[in-house]
């Protein structure tokens, strides 16, 4: 009985692993170390967004301001850097913008009970518009070498982007599993009554969750611009849905209350890995979208099937 249960859980991990090995054996250069490090680097943008998004989904919200923040925050930092402001203060300004807009979302949700869908959508639109306005719709680039190094440099052979992703993964995991804050966030999504009993303010949690998501979006946007050495005013559009998809693939429950950050990052890596494999095969982006969409549905379906079986098995032993 225990072995069957373990086998079921192993299957959830085995699936992506099998996918990975099949792709590796069929596609030349997929398993090159430089290519794999690149996959992580390309996925890091979605991955960092997914870390913040996981909490938002756990508390039964959604963050649709990602696209706007991914463009607006680096646009602020970029313009400051080009105006001669130092790299570190410029980055800090961009991060502050992201946190600020995230906190605004939290404010709307916590105090005015505006649905997260609406407030984040609106904030995202405003951010997108601002990103276009502040520089007349043009992209900016040619940033100081230090900034570009963050996106393209390596430490001991590993791209900095990968290391930053790992830091966020660790941070998210730590908060979720090892702190009271993490417990409370999970509770807010699943068992709000527990919070009320303990006298913990739901609003403060909402502030934190949305502010943190804004922070993650700002970091992702800055990282993307560091990688491209450019801030393009619409650069965030492609990533918003991918971040949500990454969370879903990672098993974050859209109904709230349940989700694991490492699994969401795994979801981001799966998406990045699939796109890379299909690029190496020369598949057209439109077909890539169909393929990735199908894989997402398949993984979610199988995840659901395994979960149902676990639930029924548990109930059966009562």
């Amino acid at each position: 009985m225990v072995i069957a249960h373990l086998a079921r859980r192993a299957a959830l991990f085995a699936l992506p692993l099998v996918l990975f090995l099949v792709m590796g054996s069929l596609i030349p250069h997929f398993l090159d170390v430089s290519n794999l490090l690149n996959v992580v680097r390309q996925s890091s943008i979605i991955g960092i967004c997914a870390v913040g998004m996981t909490y938002v989904i756990i508390i039964k919200g959604i963050d649709l301001s990602l696209a706007g923040l991914l463009a607006f925050c680096p646009m602020i930092s970029g313009m400051l850097m080009l105006a001669g402001v130092g790299t570190v203060p410029a980055i800090a300004a961009g991060l502050a913008a992201g946190i600020g807009m995230g906190l605004f979302n939290g404010l709307m949700v916590a105090t005015l009970a505006v649905p997260a869908f609406i407030t984040t959508l609106v904030v995202g639109q405003i951010a997108s518009g601002l990103a276009l306005i502040v520089n007349g719709g043009r992209s900016i680039g040619a940033f100081p070498a230090g900034f570009v190094f963050i996106g393209n440099g390596t430490l001991l052979g590993i791209p900095l982007s990968d290391l930053i992703l790992i830091c966020f993964l660790a941070l998210g995991f730590f908060i979720q599993r090892k702190t009271a804050l993490g417990n409370h966030i999970n509770a807010l999504g699943g068992h709000e009554s527990v919070l009320r009993q303990e006298g913990i303010s739901a609003s403060r949690l909402q502030f934190f969750v949305f502010g943190f998501s804004g922070f993650c979006a700002a970091v992702s946007g800055l990282l993307l611009s560091a990688q491209m050495d450019t801030v393009h005013p619409t650069q965030g559009d492609a990533y918003q849905l991918d971040a949500i998809a990454a969370c879903i693939i990672g098993g974050v429950d859209l109904a709230g209350g349940r989700g694991s950050i490492p699994m969401a990052v795994m979801g981001a890596l799966i998406i990045g890995g699939l796109r890379n494999a299909l690029d190496l095969l020369g598949v057209h982006p439109f077909i890539q979208n169909i393929f990735i969409g199908s894989v997402i549905i398949l993984i979610v379906f199988l995840g659901g099937v395994v979960r149902r079986r676990n639930e029924l098995a548990t109930r059966g032993t009562l």
């Binding site: 099949v22 430089s34 690149n38 390309q42 719709g137 992209s139 619409t234 650069q235 492609a238 982006p285």
Partner: protein, 316 residues
């Protein structure tokens, strides 16, 4: 259930690989661009490149980002092309700045690059062999001068730009502004049409709404004309003199019908052929890298009612 899934996956992956398996011992030349969907001009370049590459016995890879504005997708695709170890890359960048870091990686990997149509940001000439394209700035200047002539030196003009970040589009508009400088023409509206009809229609509608007196309109490309003309028709405005850039068959039809004044021709087929010939020369050693000019002008001219026959010869 799981076994079935694995089999299905294996079969589908195998069929995808079988379709795309490369032939050994010939060069693989990849063309990275935004899209060929709804874009006759890009399609013309791609067709010409494919023909020249295959004629030389090499393999052609078409890598489109799928949209007119998917900047980071193109960068990712270029990184993946480098991972794939292609022999050479022809690049039409959506954003002349965003591709600079990845071009550095291509150079480090020893992959020669030729840029076509839209240029890379100034100062990075060492990162590619050559830029083959229309002198977009000059095309804009000629269009501007022609607009001054059409409007008798004064009037209100609208400008529909290309997508943000596209140096080809920016250069054309900058040239246009230079061409009308010194006259009494005023640009009363300027918006990006993103190289698509849906966006160009929207921005033209808005600009017409905001400006009741408009005598001329400059579109950075023929591809946006359908949307622009639709907006003008919907707003019931007559007599707006329109100039565009590209020289496509669609535009020549419109010139013939008198709907637009003229279009600045580009020669995409020539662009593609020059790019491929240069690359193959470098790959098989017959051309010295040092001897290749940094900028190769593929030429431009005005197509208007007076030279339709000649236009038809080159229009795509």
């Amino acid at each position: 259930m799981r076994k079935l899934f694995k089999t299905l996956l294996g079969v589908s992956l195998c069929s995808v690989v079988a379709v795309c398996a490369p032939t050994p011992k010939s060069h693989t030349i990849a063309f990275s661009l935004k899209t060929v969907t709804n874009d006759d001009f890009q399609k013309a370049i791609a067709t010409s490149i494919q023909a020249s590459v295959e004629k030389a016995g090499d393999k052609f890879l078409l890598v489109t980002a799928g949209e007119q504005t998917a900047v980071s997708t193109q960068v990712n695709q270029l990184e993946d092309l480098i991972a794939k170890h292609v022999d050479a890359i022809i690049l039409n960048p959506m954003d002349g700045k965003a591709v600079v870091p990845v071009l550095r990686k291509a150079k480090a990997a020893g992959i020669p690059v030729i840029v076509v149509d839209s240029s890379v940001e100034k100062g990075n000439e060492a990162l590619y062999l050559s830029y083959v394209g229309t002198d977009n700035f000059n095309a804009g200047v000629e269009a501007g001068k022609r607009m001054v002539k059409e409007l008798g030196g004064k009037g209100n003009v609208l400008v529909v730009r290309g997508a943000n970040g596209s140096l080809a589009g920016d250069n054309r508009v900058d040239g246009f502004k230079k061409g009308i400088a010194g006259s009494h023409l005023t640009i009363v509206g300027e918006q990006p049409g993103n190289w698509t009809n849906s966006v160009s229609m929207q921005v033209t509608e808005n600009m017409l709404q905001a400006n009741k007196q408009v005598q001329g309109l400059f579109s950075a490309s023929d591809v946006m004309l359908d949307g622009i003309l639709q907006a003008i028709g919907d707003a019931n405005r007559q007599g707006i003199r329109i100039l565009a850039v590209d020289g496509s068959n669609k535009a020549v039809d419109l010139v013939q019908a008198g709907t637009i004044v003229g279009t600045m021709a580009q020669f995409p087929a020539k662009m593609g052929k020059i790019a491929v010939d240069t690359l193959i020369g470098v790959l098989n050693g017959s051309k010295k890298q040092a001897g290749i000019p940094k900028v190769i002008d593929s030429g431009t001219m005005v197509y208007d009612k007076t030279n339709i026959a000649e236009a038809r010869k080159y229009a795509f």
